[in-house]
Structure formats: C-alpha cells, structure tokens
C-alpha cells in the first residue's frame, strides 16, 4: 500500500480496460482433478463458515422459539413457546421507536464513514510517502485502540466539568459551554457516540478504498491528464470505476457493523439518558447477556437479521447477478 503504485504491463498485452477478469475455460475437460479443484480450494473456508457461523445462526433462530433463561440453559431443558417471544417484542411500542432510531443512526454513521473514508483515500493517493505513512499510522492507531479506552477518552473529552472540549471552547470565548452537558438528550448523546464510531471505522474504509485506488495503473491517470481532464472528471472517469465495487462492499459492511454497534453506546451512557440512545443492539444486550433471557434475545436477533437482510438484500442480489452473467 505504499511507494510503488505502478503496475507495469507485460509487453504485448492489451491495456486492461475493465476490472473484470476473463474466466478460465477449463482446458482439460473431464479430468476429475480439475472438476474437484474448486471445491478443494473452497473446502476449508466452507467448513469453517458452515460449522462456526451458519449452524449457530440457525440455532439462534431455533432458540427464538424457546424459553431459554439461565435455568433452562444450565439444565438443557427444552421449553417451546411458539411465537411468544416475537409477539412480546413486537407488541412493545418502545421497540418501534428504537428501531426507527437505530435506522436513522446507522444511516448517518455509515454515510459519514464512507464520505470521510473516500476523501481520505483520495487524499492519501496524492500525498508524498512520508506524510502518507504519518496519516496511515494515525489511522491504524485509531483503529487498533480497544473500545474500552476510546469510549473513555471520548467521555473525558466531552465531559461536562473536566472535558477538554468545553475547556477549549471556553478559552476561545464561548463561555456558555462551561459545564455544558453533551449528554443531556438522546440525539446529542448519539451524536457523540456517532463521532466515536466514525473515528474508529474510517481507517478500515480508507485503507480498503486506498488499496483499490492504487490498483489503477498510472497510465490511466496520465491518459486522463493528457486529455485535459479536471480533477473531478479524472476522479469520475478513472478512480471511481476502480473504486465502485469496493465502495459498495465497504458500504455493505459498514451498514452491518454500525447497525450492530453496541459497546460504544453502552459504555457511553448505557443507552440513556432515559433510554434516549438505546438502539436495537442495546435491547439485544439487555434481554440477552444482561438479563439472561436468551429466548427473547434470540427473537430480537432474528428480527434484526431480517431487517438487515431487507436493507442489504438488493445489494446481495446485485452482486450475485452482475458477475460474468454466468449461471452457477
């Protein structure tokens, strides 16, 4: 991800116009080894995902139809309650408020993350190596610091009495900020939490987009330059197509992660004030790990999954369809 940005073309090859690979035509048809090859390559990943992710996911669905509190868990008792966990959850008016809040919060955080990530990636491409590594180091530090530390630091920075932000604002002349509480309402609390999440999420997006950007051969940029394109046009014609598939991917992942974000929200104000910063992930925790009502939490988890699947379903459809148009 650093100094060498050139991808020199082997002599005689046509300049790669698109990022689509040409599929390999199986040369020696009928050879058992070759037919088996894809599955062999896939096997480790497939087994791991099926056993450790897919199967537990199905179990969560099954558990959502059980009453599974601590007693039942320890004694392995099976108590089926049908849709009770679901009706209990969906009948609660709070649940819908929380869902809407979660959706708005997720959208805002994802948008901010992607925007800043893209800007940073483009900036990084144009920086000289020393400064670029400096920026990269700061990004990795933000990314790698444990959440317990970052939430605490943010709480201190925004603290009513001793926070550096209020102190600085006071120094700059905004005296009304002495003792100002940034956590007095749900939305303001969520804003501070949002800033925290974005700060720790941007590095990943930046690195990924940057990795995509430097894969674009220099020649393309030079060609655009020769044609007299403005920076914006260059971006649209050269950078954007290279980055777009990755962009959709990181957006998808950001939606997943931000929708499910829990630790920061809980550590900041435990879903307060008065439940104002509670999202679905917080409810999941309250019912599940905190309250040990695992049947109910499984139902909530399933509902969250359905919601996510609805939001991202279109993208999954797109991905599976566009590639090569081949049937599987």
């Amino acid at each position: 991800m650093t100094a060498t940005q050139n991808v020199s073309m082997p002599a005689g090859a046509t300049p790669p116009a698109s990022a689509r690979p040409t599929p390999l035509r199986t040369r020696r048809r009928g050879r058992f080894g070759d037919r088996l090859l894809p599955y062999l390559l896939l096997l480790p990943a497939l087994v791991a995902i099926l056993v450790l992710l897919a199967w537990p996911l199905i179990q969560v669905l099954v558990i959502s139809f059980r009453k599974l509190d601590l007693g039942e868990l320890v004694r392995g008792k099976l108590i089926w309650v049908g849709f009770d966990n679901y009706s209990q959850t969906l009948a609660d008016p709070e649940f819908w408020t929380i869902t809407v809040r979660t959706l708005i919060f997720t959208t805002a955080v994802v948008a901010a993350t992607i925007l800043f990530g893209l800007l940073l990636a483009v900036l990084m491409r144009h920086l000289n190596p020393a400064i670029r590594i400096l920026v990269q180091v700061t990004l990795v530090l933000a990314w790698a610091t444990p959440v317990i530390a970052t939430t605490t630091v943010f709480q201190w920075m925004f603290d009513q009495q001793y926070g550096i932000l209020n102190k600085t604002l006071d120094r700059l002349g905004f005296h009304s900020f002495i003792g100002f509480s940034w956590f007095s309402t749900g939305p303001s609390t969520l804003t501070v939490i949002g800033i925290l999440i974005v700060w720790q999420a941007v590095p990943f997006v930046t690195f990924t987009l940057y990795a995509g950007l430097i894969g674009v051969p220099r020649e393309q940029y030079e060609a655009a330059g020769i044609d007299g394109a403005s920076p914006w046009q260059t971006f649209r014609a050269v950078s954007w197509p290279a980055v777009r598939p990755i962009m959709t991917m990181v957006t998808f992942l950001s939606v997943l992660w931000d929708f499910n974000a829990f630790a920061q929200i809980w550590a900041m104000r435990e879903g307060g004030p008065d439940g104002g910063s509670t999202t679905l992930a917080v409810v999941l925790y309250l019912k599940g790990i905190a309250g040990s009502h695992f049947g109910v939490s499984a139902a909530i988890a399933t509902l969250m999954l359905i919601l996510l699947a609805l939001i991202t379903g279109r993208y999954i459809q797109l991905l599976v369809r566009t590639k090569e148009g081949d049937l599987s």
Partner: protein
C-alpha cells in the same frame, strides 16, 4: 501526474492537519496515561501535559501474568490471521477464476454469515465449544476468531482478485510459467494491498475481542483483554492504568501493520518489475 511544488506543499499541509485531527483522541489517551489520578480530573487547562509520570506503565506491565496473557493473545491472533488468509485466498481464487456449481450459493452464504455479530451467536457458539471440548483451549478461541473474520477475508480478497485482470496471468503463462507459477509471480504480489488490509483487519478484530476471551478462557490460558479488564476493580477504575494499558495494547497491532505493509512494498515492486 506531476504536481507543482505549491500543490505538493498544500497537500502536505492538509495531510499533516488531517493527521493531527485523527490522532487527537489517541494523543489524549497517551497523555492521560502519563498523568497521576489527581491530574486526570483537573480543572486546569492541560492540552499539553505539565508533567509526566511513567508509573502507570510500570504498574500495568508488572501486573501478574502480563507476559503469559500477551503470549496467548499473540498465538491466538496470529494463528487466526494466518488461517483466515490461507483459507480466504484459496476460496477467493476459486470464486473468482473458476466456474462451478454452488459458486453463487457460496457467495450468498458469505454475505449472510456476516449479518450476525459474534455477540448474537454467543450462546450457540458457547454450546458448540463446550460440546467439542474446546473450552479453555487456545485452538478453540483461535477457531472462533478465524471463523468471524473469514467471510470478510474471502469476500475482500475475492474483490481484489477480480480486480486483477486475468490477462496478466495468461501472458505470464504464454511466457512459460505454470498456472500456479503465474499466480504466484503475477497475481499474488498485486494482491498485496488486499492481503495487508484483510490481515490487519483480522488481527485487530481478534486482538480486541473481549466476550469470548473472557468467557472461554480461564487461569493462565487467558488472553490480554482480561488483563485490560483487571484495571477495573471493586474500588474503582485505575484510569491511568487503563490508558497505559490501552497504549500498550494498541502497539502490537501497529507493529503488525508496519511489518506487513513494508514487506508488501517489496512484493508489489517485485511483481511490477517482473511484469
């Protein structure tokens, strides 16, 4: 695109400013780790610290079993990263370069597998580990981290392999390389940035994971998150210690990043030269 000097200066200034903004919370964390408890909650304006004490670091490092927890964390994390990279690259090649029945299904599976965060799968995964006898074993924890970072790794590398035109490999094969050789010499180096990002992502995810680290492991098989949690006692939290601990905690991830990104400079350069 050759930039003019003024353009370069402006960009550099912007770059430095951006770095300063991004690093501020980290800076604040570091500065706090150098403070005594009284200084942390002080009404004084202390953007630049007045004094520094290293006792928080000293007491954090000298905490019982730090070295053991550190070793365990390294084993589990590096193991998970390595496994994820290997399995992920193999799967990415198959998905991108080959056509076979079940390809689309696998792609959908990867997506769906990511919808649920680890916390949601807490109970089923715990039961799985228990019944497989993997509770309180390093391989057990490694498997969980491997599995949680795998879908992302596969998908990310899939995207990157897609982005590397097959023509390059074909050309190399025309020049006499075998299929595997072409992949190794041409595609793999170009995959460099993708490998770096996925390995750093896997590392950080595994390194910072708390729930399973605490629940599955006991005694001297425990990993570093437990050490970090030990700063929070019944008598209150040792905030200086937490900050010092977090600084220490973030360093291996930073080191890992610096190592892999430099090794891959060589890889990409070599790949570019060999063509």
């Amino acid at each position: 695109m050759k930039k003019s000097l003024s353009q370069r200066v402006v960009l550099s200034v912007v770059g430095v400013l951006v770095a300063l903004v991004i690093v501020f919370p980290t800076y604040w964390m570091f500065v706090t780790s150098l403070k005594t408890p009284g200084e942390i909650l002080s009404p004084k304006y202390d953007l630049i610290p007045f004094s520094a004490t290293f006792e928080n670091f000293a007491s954090a490092l000298s905490k019982e079993n730090f070295a053991v927890y550190l070793t365990n964390s390294l084993i589990v994390t590096l193991g998970a990263v390595l496994c994820a990279l290997i399995a992920g690259t193999l799967a990415a090649i198959a998905l991108s370069r080959l056509r076979f029945l079940g390809r689309k299904g696998f792609l959908v599976l990867i997506m769906v597998a990511q919808l649920a965060p680890v916390a949601t799968l807490f109970i089923p995964l715990f039961l799985l580990m228990r019944d497989a006898g993997l509770i309180n074993t390093l391989p057990g924890l490694m498997l969980i981290y491997f599995a949680t970072t795998l879908p992302f790794t596969v998908w990310m590398l899939y995207g990157f392999v897609n982005g590397i035109p097959y023509d390059l490999e074909e050309a190399a094969m025309i020049d006499g390389c075998s299929q595997l050789g072409a992949f190794r010499r041409v595609t793999l180096p170009l995959l460099g940035p993708g490998l770096v990002t996925t390995s750093v992502f896997s590392f950080i995810t595994a390194w910072n994971e708390f729930l399973f680290a605490v629940v599955l492991m006991k005694g001297d098989k425990q990993t570093l998150p437990v050490w970090l949690a030990s700063f929070r006692t019944a008598f209150g939290t040792d905030w200086g210690g937490v900050m010092a601990g977090s600084v220490i905690y973030a360093i291996p991830a930073l080191v890992f990043f610096l190592i892999v990104q430099r090794k891959l400079v060589a890889g990409v350069a070599a790949g570019a030269v060999k063509g």
